[in-house]
């Protein structure tokens, strides 16, 4: 009565999978220390990776994966009707991630490459993020998602709080980790424009940021691109940086495309 009021009382969760590797679903199961407590707050109605029971009666839909087939779009519309909250899980669902690489090729070619002579049996579309098809209430970002952030966001949603996802770029967290900047290790890095919240995990382990959490709220893209150019990256290289995770939105907005085409 004095604490936060739950807006959702022990909601029923359903976990769905579109085009993805199922790694984000596994991250939910990796919440080993929190799972017992979590199950006091929520119950799972549908979670193919974890249980055999199924149900169409759920309050919160967690969706992993990108939309790549006409059937996916139909499925999403049904989910949106049934769920009071729709939350994406991981980069494939938003901002589209690895499945989006198919968008850089001719669709018919891709279908033929994968399904060969039976391609016509498997109608497919350009890869799209979930929010390009239905309204989404929250994104749990990352490739894969991090279990701590999953728990933080789920508990926030339960008490009616906006998901505590940073609006600022990865560099903020990377400096707090006292990492050697990837640029000082001869790499290029998307940290300056990518949304934080990951704790700069990739640069912290000697790699660099690939942009899996999408763009920050206020990225200075022209300056970031000038920086990549200064580091000897060609327009094609820069385009490739975005395509890996952020192709759907950044390339669609035209700005980058125009720059690459010049």
């Amino acid at each position: 009565m004095n604490g936060p009021i739950s807006v959702l009382k022990r909601p029923r969760l359903a976990v769905f999978e579109l085009a993805s590797c199922a790694g984000c679903q596994l991250q939910i199961l990796n919440c080993e220390d929190e799972l017992i407590d979590l199950l006091r707050l929520v119950e799972f109605a549908y979670f193919k990776e974890a249980m055999s029971e199924t149900s169409d009666d759920y309050d919160v839909a967690l969706i992993e994966g990108a939309v790549t087939r006409p059937a996916d779009e139909e499925k999403l519309r049904v989910i949106r009707e049934r769920a009071s909250l729709v939350v994406t899980l991981g980069s494939c669902a938003f901002p589209v991630g690895i499945p989006g690489l198919k968008n850089t090729h001719d669709l018919a070619e891709v279908e033929k490459l994968v399904y060969g002579d039976h391609a016509e049996l498997f109608p497919s579309t350009q890869a799209k993020p979930v929010d390009a098809v239905i309204p989404v209430d929250a994104h749990i970002l990352g490739c894969p998602i991090h279990k701590d952030e999953f728990v933080r966001i789920v508990t926030a949603l339960l008490i009616g709080k906006r998901p505590p996802v940073p609006t600022y770029p990865v560099c903020v967290e990377c400096r707090l980790k006292e990492n050697v900047c990837a640029y000082d290790r001869g790499l290029v890095c998307l940290g300056p424009v990518t949304r934080a919240g990951c704790g700069a995990i990739c640069p912290s382990y000697g790699s660099r940021c690939f942009g899996c959490r999408g763009l920050a709220d206020d990225p200075n893209l022209p300056s970031a691109e000038a920086l990549l150019e200064e580091k000897g990256r060609s327009p094609e290289d820069i385009r490739a940086e975005y395509v890996l995770y952020n192709g759907y939105y950044t390339l669609a907005e035209g700005g980058l495309k125009a720059k690459v085409a010049k």
Binding site: A156, T167, C171, V172, R175, N220, S223
Partner: protein, 349 residues
């Protein structure tokens, strides 16, 4: 209090003993960086002059600091949290000692902030003077932060085979007494100290075309400079400069809830005026939206506002922001350009 002199071997011995029984933090070099870290043995300590990646203020205002814990299941219980863990910080450089003195003036003298005070009361600061500039980004001589009049418990100066030890507090006196092997400084030692100090002047050249106390006036008259627009176009708003700054202390206050939804924590976390959300009010309006305004605000805080309010340098010339800026925004250049010709609006090529 009488100054002391301790041989380097004896000091290392002492630090080994100290680190065995207490939490000792010191600069440790790893690859291109030096970081303040817990040490187990004195041999881990780096004597490189390069400022640490994060300043030692991280021990007094941690990036994420719990302020309160609360429970709401049985009535309401709120418990404020004060850290009382003892830390000995060895190898704090003059610039950082100046920055910590500023934080003391703000958080203790002005704000009576118990969270900061508790940490400050439990940290021992052993400074080590700089006899050479660290690199091309340092401009402490211009900010007049190379000499440290106070704010340390002990201040060490390298005399070659030994350290000259100045005692800045009763805590420092107790510590130096436990050092055992230190002897009282005599006339010759003081002469050597003065020589060491004098010899710095050639190396530590002034890098700014103004003195630090001219910066407020310079910044006030530069409010409409086109340089802010130029910097605004370049700035990535990545917050690197403010996160590594020893005098930056702005924070956000947030709550986290336990998994039973009946308890939780209120904490403060470092925040940055360079981020878009910083000056946003509840209704979503940001009062410092343009990047150029955010950059201008940072330089004004560093060179002007803090000095005007607290009478102490808001920038200590450590150069960390310049070392960490991917697009080369550099306070030496910024201040000197403001002092020099008005900057034409240029478009990056």
């Amino acid at each position: 209090m009488i100054d002391r002199v301790v041989t380097k071997a004896d000091l290392l011995d002492f630090l080994d003993r100290l680190a065995a029984e207490r939490k000792v933090v010191a600069p440790v070099a790893e690859g291109p960086l030096v970081r303040f870290k817990d040490i187990g043995r004195a041999a881990e300590i780096s004597d490189r002059y390069l400022p640490t990646a994060l300043p030692p203020s991280k021990y007094l205002l941690p990036p994420k600091e719990l302020l309160l814990r609360f429970r709401t299941d049985d009535g309401v219980a709120i418990e404020p949290l004060f850290d009382t863990g003892e830390i000995v910080a060895f190898g704090v450089r003059p610039c950082d000692l100046h920055a910590l003195a500023l934080l003391d003036a703000i958080f203790i003298d002005d704000k009576h902030d118990g969270h900061y005070l508790s940490r400050r009361e439990h940290i021992t600061l052993i400074g080590v003077e700089c006899l050479e500039p660290c690199d091309e980004h340092c401009f402490c001589a211009s900010m007049e932060t190379l000499d440290v009049p106070s704010g340390y418990d002990l201040l060490l100066t390298d005399l070659g085979d030994a350290y000259y030890v100045q005692i800045g507090s009763s805590l420092g006196k107790t510590l130096v007494e436990s050092l055992g092997a230190a002897r009282d400084a005599v006339y010759e030692d003081r002469t050597r100290l003065r020589k060491a100090h004098d010899s710095r002047h050639a190396a530590f050249t002034r890098r700014l075309d103004v003195t630090y106390d001219q910066l407020p006036a310079l910044l006030a008259e530069s409010s409409d400079s086109l340089l802010w627009d130029v910097l605004g176009e370049k700035c990535l708003s990545c917050g690197a400069c403010t996160n590594v700054c020893p005098t930056c202390y702005c924070f956000d206050v947030r709550d986290e809830v336990d998994l039973d939804l009946e308890g939780g924590r209120r904490y403060r976390a470092w925040d940055s005026c360079q981020l878009e959300e910083f000056a946003m009010v509840g209704t979503g309006e940001s009062f410092r939206q343009p990047r150029s305004m955010r950059v201008k605000h940072r330089f004004n805080r560093k060179g002007r506002y803090i000095l005007e309010r607290y009478g102490r340098q808001g920038c200590v010339g450590c150069g960390r922001c310049a070392r960490n800026c991917l697009v080369g925004i550099n306070p030496i250049e910024v201040f000197n350009q403001l002092k020099g010709q008005p900057v034409e609006r240029t478009v990056r090529t």
